[in-house]
């Protein structure tokens, strides 16, 4: 279990994350949603162990983060940040292999090939990373992160994703979420920051809504993703449409109706 209890984080007098309490169980996909500046990324860094807050704690499988060495922590959780910038000419394959750099395995090549095939990155494995498009880079980074937790282990593990699909086209987005969903059967719990509410609605088991550092609502997807709750968090009218045939929900941000409502001083 990934467990955050009373996480609190301030920068100066401003609280970025306020008393956050939640759990991510192995085998479930939790989506973390919220408007810009809600504190998602800070919360994400607290969970990954990159930042240790003064108040509250994060536990992986019952052990608080500070009691892990960075090597031990990397065995129970993998992290994919929003974007990574490289200054050196590494090939796509070399980047993917780095996910295994601290892992002892005899099947390194097999794992790398399998993951690259899964993420559709094998076809450009020898191309230089900095020549790839945004979406391709993201898939290479996803492949790197997956190698770290690919081989089955007898204990529960966790995957943290920060907007893993932000530069991808629709087909790629769906493909990536499908891959992530399959991981659940490997005793892996996933927490993903998502921008696209519909992706969250279609794939997440549970949803957390964050606003101004507060976890306003959390629970099963269909309970949390209601128009009242989403409107409260995103400050915009949002329509939630239930598709009875497929049994899932669709999120529709209602566009502004009247034109010429904005008044400018200069134009």
């Amino acid at each position: 279990m990934l467990e955050a209890s009373h996480l609190h984080y301030c920068i100066g007098p401003r609280s970025i994350v306020k008393q956050a309490c939640f759990r991510v169980k192995p085998g479930e996909l939790v989506a973390l949603l919220g408007p810009n500046g809600a504190g998602k990324s800070t919360l994400f860094r607290l969970l990954s162990g990159e930042v240790i807050g003064k108040q509250g704690e994060v536990c992986y499988n019952g052990k608080p983060i500070p009691s892990f060495s960075s090597a031990a922590l990397s065995k129970v959780r993998a992290v994919m940040p929003q974007s990574s910038h490289l200054n050196f000419p590494f090939s796509a394959r070399e980047i993917v292999e780095m996910g295994l750099s601290m892992v002892q395995t005899r099947r390194k090549d097999l794992v790398v090939e399998e993951v690259m095939e899964l993420t559709h990155t094998l076809e450009y494995k020898n191309r230089m990373y900095h020549h790839l498009s945004g979406g391709e880079k993201q898939r290479v980074q996803l492949a790197r992160v997956l190698t770290q937790i690919w081989e089955k282990q007898p204990y529960a593990r966790y995957l943290l994703l920060d907007e893993p699909t932000s530069s991808m086209d629709i087909a790629q987005q769906q493909h990536v979420l499908k891959i992530v969903r399959e991981l659940k059967s490997r005793n892996i719990g996933i927490l993903a920051i998502l921008h696209d509410l519909n992706l969250a609605a279609s794939y997440a088991d549970r949803v957390m809504l964050l606003k101004n550092g507060d976890v306003r609502h959390q629970g099963p997807t269909h309970e949390v993703m209601t128009s009242a709750k989403l409107e409260e968090v995103f400050d915009h009218p949002i329509q939630v449409i239930k598709d009875k045939e497929r049994g899932n929900i669709m999120i529709h941000p209602v566009p502004h109706q009247k034109e010429n409502q904005l008044h400018y001083h200069t134009a």
């Binding site: 860094r45 990954s48 162990g49 990159e50 060495s69 960075s70 090597a71 922590l73 990397s74 065995k75 959780r77 993998a78 992290v79 940040p81 990574s84 910038h85 490289l86 200054n87 050196f88 000419p89 590494f90 090939s91 394959r93 070399e94 980047i95 780095m98 996910g99 750099s101 601290m102 892992v103 390194k108 090549d109 090939e113 230089m128 020549h131 790197r144 992160v145 770290q148």
Partner: protein, 355 residues
């Protein structure tokens, strides 16, 4: 699927490259042994070397043996050691700061080492117990301290919340270099030792003062750290994606930082204390390797050792031969080879990367 195992293929290529570089270093070493103000024929060099291990082969004059064993060989070995130290510390610092512009000379490691070496020589007499206690290690260790202080200062100034601001890093380096250069000049001004008034030694470098003591100190304080540093390839590879990413992958980032900063300061400081500051090697060597063979530190680190040795021993050869019987400061040679070559590299980066 292709039946070729890519990892094994890549490793074979690495071994082959490193082997050919080693052969190259030995070749330059032998060539360098024969040439100079006092030429020694190749056969004589071989027979002197064989004589050292008790094999009688060929003939040589006793004078040739003296020149070779007491002057030329330690000089060649010292140039190789210093070059190796500069090469790998350049590669490791570039990896750590995630920027290909970093160089021991640029961020103040060399000038800090030089300043402290000068201070030790000029003011060492005032603290006789320190000189007594440290012996031949006093000077190199003091230079290491100077390099370390500067690199830590620069690092502190340029890093905020785990991110290194490269503009700040270079500005801090420029400021520290200017300060150290001025202080070196000032100390030398106060020194009464005539030999020390040779400012070019500290600014342009000179391998001329080599002897076996320096070589053994160099092997200990440059050779061993270089080998330790090349074992950090996984960590430096992971750092290339980012500090946070390296931490996620399981690298203890703080530990790697300290290892790289300490060992680089040690190797560069010790080198500076023996040969003065030699620029460009730490910048050009890792660049060259990355451009030709890719950025994997598993190759870049050991190859930087070898290419650094090769480059500096070759530069020393040129420094000795070009204006015979006089000698040129080796820093002039490294800059004359280094800068145009570097400009050529920059101009060709795109074409090479696009292959």
């Amino acid at each position: 699927m292709l039946a070729v195992n890519p990892t094994i293929e890549k490793r074979k290529l690495h071994v082959l490259l490193l082997f050919s570089l080693t052969v190259g270093v030995m070749g330059v070493g032998l060539l360098s042994a024969t040439m100079g103000a006092y030429a020694i024929p190749f056969s004589a060099v071989l027979s002197i070397l064989l004589d050292q291990i008790g094999v009688q082969w060929g003939e040589f004059e006793p004078r040739q043996a003296t020149v070779f064993l007491q002057l030329r060989l330690p000089r060649i070995l010292l140039a190789m050691l210093v070059g190796a130290g500069l090469g790998i510390s350049g590669a490791a610092l570039q990896g750590l700061f995630r920027n290909p512009l970093v160089e021991p000379g640029l961020i103040g490691v060399s000038s800090g080492g030089a300043l402290f070496a000068v201070l030790f020589i000029v003011f060492g007499d005032q603290v006789p117990w320190l000189v007594e206690l440290t012996g031949s290690f006093g000077l190199p260790l003091f230079a290491f301290l100077g390099g370390l202080i500067n690199v830590l200062l620069v690092y502190r100034l340029a890093s905020m919340a785990g991110k290194t601001d490269i503009a700040l890093l270079i500005l801090a380096g420029v400021a520290l270099n200017a300060l150290c250069g001025a202080l070196i000049g000032l100390s030398i001004f106060y020194a009464d030792d005539a030999a020390l008034r040779n400012f070019t030694f500290w600014s342009l470098g000179d391998v001329g003062g080599a002897n076996w003591t320096k070589v053994s100190i160099g092997s200990l304080l440059i050779g061993i750290p270089a080998l330790v540093l090349s074992s950090q390839y996984k960590q430096l590879n992971a750092l290339a994606i980012g500090e946070s990413e390296a931490f996620h992958i399981g690298v203890s980032v703080q530990r790697v930082k300290y290892i790289v900063l300490m060992l680089s300061a040690l190797m560069v400081g010790v080198g500076v204390s023996m040969t003065g500051t030699i620029g460009f090697v730490g910048l050009v060597v890792p660049h060259l390797i990355r451009l030709l063979f890719g950025a994997d530190h598993r190759l870049v680190l050991p190859a930087s050792i070898l290419v650094g040795s090769l480059l500096l021993s070759f530069a020393d050869l040129l420094a000795r031969v070009m204006v015979m019987p006089a000698e040129m400061p080796i820093g002039i040679i490294t800059a004359i080879i280094g800068s145009p070559f570097f400009i050529w590299l920059i101009m060709n980066v795109k074409t090479i990367n696009n292959r």
